[in-house]
Symmetry: C2
Subunit: 308 residues, 2 copies
Amino acid sequence: MDRARLITLDWGTSNLRARLLGDGGAVWQTRVSAGGGILAVPERRFADALSALCGDWIDEHRCPLVASGMIGSRQGWQEAPYLDCPATLADAATRLLPVAVGAGTDAMLHIVPGLRCVGADGQYDVMRGEETQLWGAALAAGRCCVLPGTHSKWAWVGARSAIERFQTHMTGEFYALLTQHGILGKLMQFGMPSAAAFAQGAQLGLQGHGTLMHTVFAARTAGLMERLPPAELPDFLSGILIGAEIGGALLSGAPAGPVALLGEAVLCERYAAAFAVAGLPTSRVDDDATTRGQWQLGLQAGLTGDSR
Amino acid sequence: MDRARLITLDWGTSNLRARLLGDGGAVWQTRVSAGGGILAVPERRFADALSALCGDWIDEHRCPLVASGMIGSRQGWQEAPYLDCPATLADAATRLLPVAVGAGTDAMLHIVPGLRCVGADGQYDVMRGEETQLWGAALAAGRCCVLPGTHSKWAWVGARSAIERFQTHMTGEFYALLTQHGILGKLMQFGMPSAAAFAQGAQLGLQGHGTLMHTVFAARTAGLMERLPPAELPDFLSGILIGAEIGGALLSGAPAGPVALLGEAVLCERYAAAFAVAGLPTSRVDDDATTRGQWQLGLQAGLTGDSR
């Protein structure tokens, strides 16, 4: 059997996904450790966790590994210092952090650095993992790209797919906190999607992002006044928050062309609907960008040549 | 011993406070049932809870009772329909909802209606309890009054202390959710106030209220980048949120004179500091306004005359 060229790890806070890549970055195998994110690894024994998931690959193929995500954070295996924006894939390829996998192998794990930028407000922003995804998507200069999630990322792309600047919006976390632990969730009934209530909320959030802590209170009064049934309140709130995210992010400039949406399909559809309410076109980017980015990083760093 | 003229109840979601008032509204006695709010009353047996706290007053003085707060909500004793804004104390005095206290007494409880208004965004806003506090404060026409809290209320006052319009901001709840259940709390160390970090946050919130879900992420990066020590992050976040509340509320018009702050002293000081960062003067209103408002309501409704 041929030797594989690279093992890629997408190792975040909650999950771990490993892939075995052959020539040209072809995906030979995928293994997922659901709930195997860095916070779930006991006593930070990352080498053991890695060995448990794909020790056989490492032994058999003796190829290098590339990892991106929170594994490079202070809570991860080893901290990979942030690269400052603007940053290209070529910049990152020269700054991979090598870590010995250990335990009877000379295999090396190369951790992709996260990115850092300073916003117009003078505050730092950070990402770990999304940079690899963005580079893998190989977006054209001038594109604005949104990666929806617990912490949504907005990124603006320059020449050579450089990430010029980006912004984090804690939209998914706000939704979870307000519905699971807050008063707004008490009037809600979950499980029945409502596109109409979502669009109504998105309209409200797009206009009311300047007073978000007031605007979301509409998700309570709409219930109290029986303007919306309990089953429609979750999507009404979701619309308010995503609308407010979009309304706020657009303050720093309208996108030149269609906004690129990168991530999980259901969430991207939700964002596309909110952008449509805002009158802005979107296009979906294929979701396998992380692996492509990791392959390109390994290639540019000279890791994938001859793995024997 | 003289007969009392009125028993007032400030009966909210979390707490119950009862007062026995004599001639002219003089406070004779105060009793507090900490944790005796409407959500803590088993099987909604409000008559029993009332009797346990001040059944002896009712038996001895046989005077009427006036109650304000969430006791008039759908989850309370009986729902007192909302009054629409603008609303004066005189309007509310004609709309008190009488409820028989029952259990061997002919005493009547009069529930003060909450207020409702429709914002510029077409959404309803509601309050229960704060209207009595505002009327008790007898504010001059043109004043803007802020009642800080879990759900802060901003009220704009018209002629005859009418509440022209108001806005709820869920600021206190956002702070609790983000620090107790969210990722921002994980880097924080609580218990050491920092006026400087609060002011820094307030400045940021005043400017960044349009992108709140992004702006609060600075409370994470300031920790990650060691710009602020863990002990200063709680007040930094508190500043961001209160600053964002103020920045957002001012979108609907700058206050004509000093903003009136009404409520608990420590929280009012915090708001005064944030308003100072915004360059806006404030003045503190004495905190016993609820009882004064309830006395005035009883007086105008003709309840306090002869209680025998």
